[in-house]
């Protein structure tokens, strides 16, 4: 019986790009507003251009501790009073320190706007860094540091970054219990005071708030926040990786192998980044991608295989990986390398290219759905100094990528001969076979060579 054809799409509808308004306080704090009156709910985010790279080399816990302790006591409130107020106002609170920036996010009902912003301001302006709270945080975090060493994903990721970036700040993915041990109230407080400032920071309002109100509220609550010159962080361009490195992380009793293959690519905002996004989408960007179809659908070796891109101010990387049947670990690596190589040889078919372009466009449209995610995109744009029209031109730029541009980008940035392969497994099950790939470096779950 002849197959029926899928119905054609109707006329494409216009995407409404929300308007983003900006103002700037005297102390340098920039206020961004994505007004959205649909729901009585506001997302506030205060973003600092301070990330894990700003840690001193000998202590990777300080930036995170500084951020954490802003909610552990102020001139007028204890840690318990702060947490009680957050819960009383039903604030969904979130803060984190990433590679090159950090944020405090609060989402709450519109009626709590002034209270929530007042609390946020109090936290960042008059944090007292109490020593007993510091000690409590240290104890809590130590156990998380121990627990994460049982997670294959963490172990693979850590090894990739350490191998790709060697001594560069980008290699520092996690603090250690020893770092926590070394942190003192003074070291945390000093780091906070020398790095966190309204200069360079952004305050985003997303929700039923107009820009005049947002600016006035910003002025009222954060206008008195002292502006100071912050230490600017400079770090060199990471050095190139030569050849291929194969790392095995011995995790006893593993019943699968966690496999991660990674290579260096390009920094945020690089002109090739859109073409590379498309190339990655073809390789492992979803369940129609080559890696997924090969390793899962054709061979049944895994529940899912994907690749993704990460990029920072000075560099970026691609990561391709899967959790696979132990006995086919080597085959999965070979297939992954084969797919990477293939992408650098032949241009994709037009149909595959079009699908991947539309996947990226669709994902972009979904990010337009909430004011919070529009605001988050805008914050990213500011942090990485991307051009003003970066998002407004995103869709046409994706559409303009051609078959040959994809293969050129893949050739330039997905080099199958210069990458790191990390495998987390029980060494007894995989070591002999993996040695066929070349020299193997073996580590324990603590990250020590064995």
């Amino acid at each position: 019986m002849e197959m029926m054809k899928a119905p054609a799409p109707s006329a494409e509808k216009n995407i409404h790009y929300p308007e983003i308004r900006e103002s700037r306080l005297k102390n340098g704090l920039r206020i961004l507003v994505v007004q959205d009156d649909r729901l009585p709910r506001v997302f506030l985010s205060l973003v600092f251009p301070i990330g894990t790279v700003c840690n001193p080399e000998d202590n990777l816990s300080l930036v995170s501790l500084a951020m954490e302790l802003t909610k552990s006591g102020t001139d007028t409130r204890s840690a318990s009073e702060i947490s009680n107020l957050i819960d009383q106002l039903a604030i969904q609170f979130d803060s984190d320190v990433l590679m090159e920036h950090s944020f405090i996010g609060m989402t709450f009902l519109e009626k709590e706007l002034e209270s929530a912003l007042g609390l946020l301001a109090e936290m960042v302006i008059s944090a007292t860094f109490p020593v007993d709270e510091l000690e409590k945080v240290k104890v809590r975090w130590k156990s998380h540091l121990i627990a994460q060493r049982s997670q294959p994903d963490f172990l693979a990721n850590e090894r990739i970054f350490k191998t790709l970036y060697q001594n560069h700040p980008y290699s520092r993915t996690s603090m250690t219990p020893e770092h926590l041990e070394l942190a003192t109230r003074d070291s945390v407080k000093n780091l906070y005071q020398s790095h966190f400032s309204p200069q360079g920071a952004y305050l985003l309002f997303a929700g039923p708030v107009d820009s005049v109100t947002a600016t006035n509220l910003g002025k009222r609550f954060l206008g008195d926040w002292d502006s100071k010159e912050v230490i600017s962080i400079r770090y060199p361009q990471p050095t190139e990786l030569e050849g291929r490195r194969i790392c095995l992380i011995h995790r006893p009793h593993s019943v699968q192998s966690k496999l991660l293959v990674a290579g260096r690519t390009l920094p945020q905002g690089h002109p090739d980044s859109i073409a590379l996004k498309v190339a990655n989408q073809i390789l492992g960007g979803g369940a129609s991608s080559r890696l997924f179809l090969n390793l899962r659908e054709e061979k049944g070796y895994t529940y899912g295989a994907y690749s993704r891109l990460k990029s920072f101010r000075n560099d970026g990387l691609f990561l391709a990986g899967a959790s696979v049947k132990t006995e086919v670990t080597l085959e999965c690596i070979e297939e992954t390398l084969k797919e990477i190589d293939q992408l650098t040889q032949d241009p994709p078919k037009q149909e595959e290219l079009a699908r991947c372009q539309q996947e990226l466009i669709g994902s972009f449209i979904r990010q337009m759905e909430t004011s919070a995610s529009v605001g988050a995109l805008e914050l990213d744009r500011r942090i990485y100094d991307l051009p003003e029209d970066f998002y407004r031109t995103f869709i046409p730029k994706v559409r303009s990528v051609e078959r040959k541009t994809v293969v050129e980008a893949a050739r330039r940035y997905f080099d199958p001969h210069r990458l790191v392969i990390a495998v987390v497994a029980d060494r007894e099950d995989v070591e002999t076979k993996l040695s066929q790939l070349g020299e193997l470096q073996v580590f324990d779950t603590e990250g020590n060579p064995i």
Binding site: M3, M4, A6, P7, P9, S10, A11, E12, K13, N14, I15, H16, R38, L39, P40, R41, S80, S83, N84, I86, D87, Q88, A90, Q92, T107, F108, L109, K111, K136, V139, R140, S143, H144, I146, A147, S150, P252, H253, V255, Q256, A287, S288, R296, E297, G300, T302, Y303, S323, K325, R355, Q358, E359, L360, I361, G362, S363, I365, R366, E369, T370
Partner: protein, 423 residues
């Protein structure tokens, strides 16, 4: 207490002649439409020896149908720039895609095609059961506490319907035949056993007419079933200890049988769960993490099944802290709840949090669509989306006391302790 009310969700409801229920929620701010089919089948509909079939079909449903080849369902949606997936729970299965709205008709065509003419073939069946076995390894066998989580439900529930894992037992997955899978499919997958939801941009299209066009002529062969979920009253504590070579810290699972979703007890204990566990000012965070650092993380609350619920408590115990000490402290905290009402301030805080969550559920059309289906499936009343909040806000301190007294009884407890290691 002034409560913010989320805007009402105005939806339409229709039933086609073949039994397909249709829920429409138009909202066209962003050109996206969420299309979701919910089948009244989950792991609790399976019979012994056939565990994992509902979940296996979550995979099979992407293996092709009369007009869309193997994996093409996903590829069509990807090509449209949409997002798709499927989920299986104890009580239902859903298949969905969120597409740029000019591809709405494609989504309807795809869902209709696999509802009517799924390729239930031997080859697809064999391939997908291998994938599921790997999924089980990744999601359970190779994760700390993965197998313990499955063991806990088995221990807590006497009724096999809820006791067995959604993903199935490997022995069953390896044993049942292609014909078994085909029978299962015939029984449950068809218009008479499904709810179709269209939420989002429906402008420029007559959604009912289009649904009629794609689904209206389909014959229904399903047999709607309601699994027996009744759980015998537990009269003595059940306790077990197991070892997990992948775990680095001990963990404690506790469960107390309670009334089903939607019962007054359910609302009372859902509010109580927030008092115990939401935020750093909650009772458990304060006592077990902030003050004493006995545990590293925890989760608490009703397990959200349609039938008999379990009030679930999970704790990961800190290094060098005795598990018994944590178990005893939890028991003392629950005893206090049986004896003394929570404070007015605690109740108000919990209700603020619920009001916030109810507004938060409405930020995306996909979420709204899934909620409408949830209320239609579990309560036969999609309109409950607009008044469910009132039931939480009506809970009193006395309701919580009463529920705690009835549920948190020592003989009603199931306890599973997980120790690191494999001696």
């Amino acid at each position: 207490m002034s409560m913010v009310k989320a805007p009402d969700i105005e939806f339409q409801e229709h039933t086609l002649d073949n039994g397909l229920q249709l829920l429409l929620y138009p909202q066209s701010r962003v050109p996206l439409t969420h299309v979701s089919v919910h089948y009244r089948v989950g792991s609790s509909y399976e019979t012994e020896g056939f565990s994992g079939l509902a979940h296996l079909f979550e995979h099979m449903m992407f293996q092709g149908s009369a007009n869309a080849g193997k994996n093409e369902h996903g590829r069509y949606v990807d090509h449209a720039g949409g997002r798709w997936n499927a989920t299986t729970s104890k009580d239902r299965t859903n298949y969905y895609e969120t597409v740029p709205s000019h591809y709405l008709e494609l989504a309807l065509w795809l869902e209709a095609d696999r509802m009517q003419s799924l390729n239930v073939t031997l080859e697809n069946f064999e391939n997908q059961r291998q994938t599921v076995i790997e999924e089980k390894k990744q999601s359970y066998d190779n994760r700390p506490y993965g197998l313990a989580t499955l063991r806990f439900e088995e221990l807590a529930y006497e009724n096999w319907a809820y006791a067995h894992p959604i993903i199935g037992f490997i022995e069953d997955l390896e044993k049942y035949t292609f014909e078994d899978a085909a029978d299962f499919h015939r029984t449950f997958y068809g218009p008479g056993n499904a709810i179709l939801v269209l939420a989002g941009d429906l402008s420029g299209i007559d959604a009912l007419e289009k649904t009629q066009e794609y689904f209206g002529d389909m014959a229904d062969h399903t047999q709607r079933q309601s699994p027996r979920l009744e759980e015998p009253r537990q009269t003595a504590e059940k306790a077990e200890t197991c070892q997990d070579p992948l775990a680095v810290l001990p963990a404690v699972y506790m469960g107390y049988h309670m009334a089903p979703l939607g019962s007054p007890e359910y609302y009372a204990l859902s509010v109580l769960a927030l008092v115990l566990s939401h935020g750093e000012s909650s009772r458990f965070y304060r006592q077990f993490i902030y003050d004493h650092n006995w545990i590293t993380s925890f989760s608490v609350g009703p397990n959200q099944y349609k039938g008999p619920e379990l009030f679930y408590l999970w704790f990961q115990v800190q290094h060098e802290i005795e598990v018994d000490q944590v178990v005893q402290a939890v028991e003392d905290a629950l005893k206090l709840l049986r004896e003394t009402p929570i404070s007015e301030a605690e109740l108000e805080k919990a209700k603020n949090q619920i009001a916030y969550r109810f507004v938060g559920r409405l930020t995306k059309v996909s979420r709204i669509g899934e909620l409408l289906a949830h209320y239609a499936l579990f309560f036969d009343d999609a309109g409950r989306i607009n008044n469910d909040l009132d039931r939480y806000l009506a809970v009193s301190r006395e309701d919580i006391l009463e529920a705690a007294q009835s549920v948190f009884q020592p003989e009603n407890r199931t306890l599973l302790v997980v120790e690191p290691g494999n001696d």
